[in-house]
């Protein structure tokens, strides 16, 4: 009976918390069966590598990912590019460094330790180029939106060529089914064939959206695989420990007639 209460309370907490913060008036996000969902969820390496390609070739022209370093791309639990690939990716960017001995700032080829290069020097520059709208940093965006990866994927899929006629769109505003208020400042970012995958995967809008969303899910939670692995071991340990403690308790309390 007491355990029942505990369990019920936990369930109430769980269900309350997930419902409390639901979003506004837009359509419910599409549901995707992500490889990283569930108790044993893992990222799909190939998908993360494709996702990085989409980010680099499409998103990165407006969106920063300033909390990521190039070295993260080679770390365990992520896209796991080889060390040589990581070096080559980093070297493809010109990074501002300095000051040098003469006190001058200078440009040099990127190194794995460098943070992802941002497309704009600051927020104001970003707004100036994007009609007043600020393209958010994508590093933790999946965690910063209720609905998470499903929501991000839905936004990418939510553009329509012919928006409903009752919606009035101002200059620089686009229609999106899944955006709260149905209006978004980001133009449709992906079209069939926007990128060319080297592994032969067909670059449909849905495929690219999934890949880049998975990449963003990893960037928001880079230790997800480790977390779930340790979590499983921890809970298993605690379960076994609880059985041992339970029987010890029974044994100790058997010395007196009161039931525990």
């Amino acid at each position: 009976m007491k355990k029942f209460f505990l369990v019920t309370l936990t369930l109430i907490l769980f269900s309350l918390s997930s419902n409390l913060y639901a979003a506004g008036d837009a359509m419910k996000p599409l549901r995707v069966d992500w490889s990283f969902n569930g108790f044993f969820g893992k990222f799909d390496r190939a998908q993360l590598q494709r996702g990085y390609q989409v980010y680099k070739e499409v998103c990165a022209s407006c969106h920063s990912m300033k909390y990521l370093s190039y070295r993260n791309l080679g770390e365990k639990g992520g896209p796991e590019f080889s060390q040589a690939e990581v070096k080559a990716i980093a070297a493809g960017f010109q990074i501002k460094d300095g000051p040098n001995e003469e006190g001058e700032m200078f440009e040099r080829a990127g190194l794995p330790k460098d943070k992802f290069k941002s497309p704009y020097p600051n927020q104001k520059a970003a707004r100036a180029v994007n009609g007043g709208a600020y393209p958010p940093d994508m590093s933790v965006l999946v965690k910063a939106r209720s609905g998470g990866a499903d929501y991000i994927y839905s936004i990418l899929m939510g553009y329509e060529d012919n928006p409903p006629s009752n919606i009035k769109l101002e200059e620089g505003v686009y229609y999106n089914k899944y955006m709260p208020g149905n209006k978004i400042r980001m133009p449709k970012p992906l079209n069939d064939g926007s990128v060319e995958y080297s592994d032969g995967t067909k670059a449909t809008i849905s495929q690219m959206s999934k890949d880049v969303t998975a990449f963003m899910a990893w960037s928001a939670e880079p230790h997800l695989e480790k977390r779930k692995r340790i979590g499983f071991k921890t809970i298993l340990y605690l379960l076994i420990f609880s059985v041992l403690v339970y029987f010890s308790m029974k044994r100790i309390w058997s010395r007196i007639e009161t039931k525990v």
Binding site: P222, S248, I256
Partner: protein, 420 residues
Amino acid sequence: MSETNYKPSSAFGKWFDERLPLLTLFNGHLMQYPTPKNLNYWWTFGGILTFCLVTQIITGIVLAMHYTAHADLAFSSVEHIMRDVNYGWLIRYIHANGASMFFLAVYIHIFRALFYGSYKSPREVIWIIGIIIYILMMAAAFMGYVLPWGQMSFWGATVITNLFSAIPLIGESITQWLWGGYSVDNPTLNRFFSLHYLIPFLILGLVILHIWALHVPGNNNPVGIDLKKDGTDTVPFHPYIVIKDLFALVIFMIIFAGFVFYAPNVLGHSDNYIPADPLVTPAHIVPEWYLLPFYAILRSVPDKLGGVVLMFGAIFILAALPWLDTSKVRSAVFRPIYKQFFWILVIDVLVLGYMGAMPAEGSYLLISRIATVYYFAHFLIIMPVLGYVEKTKPVPLSIADPIFSGSGNFVAAKKNKNVG
């Protein structure tokens, strides 16, 4: 409790104990302390709460080693903890979810006291110290939520600190004094960090007083009657209660681990992963779940000052409970009518919590208002009146014997057995 025949076994122990009787103190309060035999699992939350406090302090100290309390750097220092500090993600998720677990446990602990009448004579001081701890917990949790400097941090801090501006005449000055400026900004973050580090140690001190005050009359128990003086109703704290508390703690830790490892962000708000922006107000500003009932009370009053008064009143009214409750019987087990009102109060608080998360409009607002009125009515009307009109069930003479006094209250029972 501590006058025992205890003698340390080692020569060093004897030498030390004669100079500072620390071992005698521990032996008296953590080993031999007589505890009622009939405590149920609702009594294990004291130990669980101690665990929560220690966990928060340890993880918090480690987080503070890597965190930067500056408006421009706080958010990215948290991301640094999540990404680059070894097991930083684990420590932060334990700390963040630990706060929720702490409140889950404290709410069970408080409602247990309400159900079994643990706040009544002679335990009023334990209860009031507990209320102070609870208030400090809310302050610590609120300030802790500000530290990541996300959108909810910033706007939560703005809403809560603005409450003080409702105080007539000096409100404005107090608010600016709290902010350290003319709005929530870097000075606010700095002082919140400082206070967030301080308060847990105040709580720790009060916890010691809470336990000390508890060990004077001893624990209440599910039957709610005083124990026999001959010690037949009690067991020594160690090993009986220690092992039982440990079992409950392990079960609690399983639930805790479930959140930390598999739903670490479900109790937080996604907006707090957006860096604080004073120019963009979130659509709904909501506090953490454990503050929602009070937030609902605050918003249910159309007048700002009135809302603030009621919100703080809702907490402080608990301190008067030992005198508002006029019933002679402690445990709700023997109070058939109070028992029902107790569960209605539980539901009322859950309803308030739900309303606190909803926009304050239409039927949500109406329901919050009804629930707020009921909350106060429970303490100000139902509790005092019930003591006079309720016909309580016969109370047993001792927790071991199923013999009932037949008189319906434990005062008579005490007279019969001469245990008072």
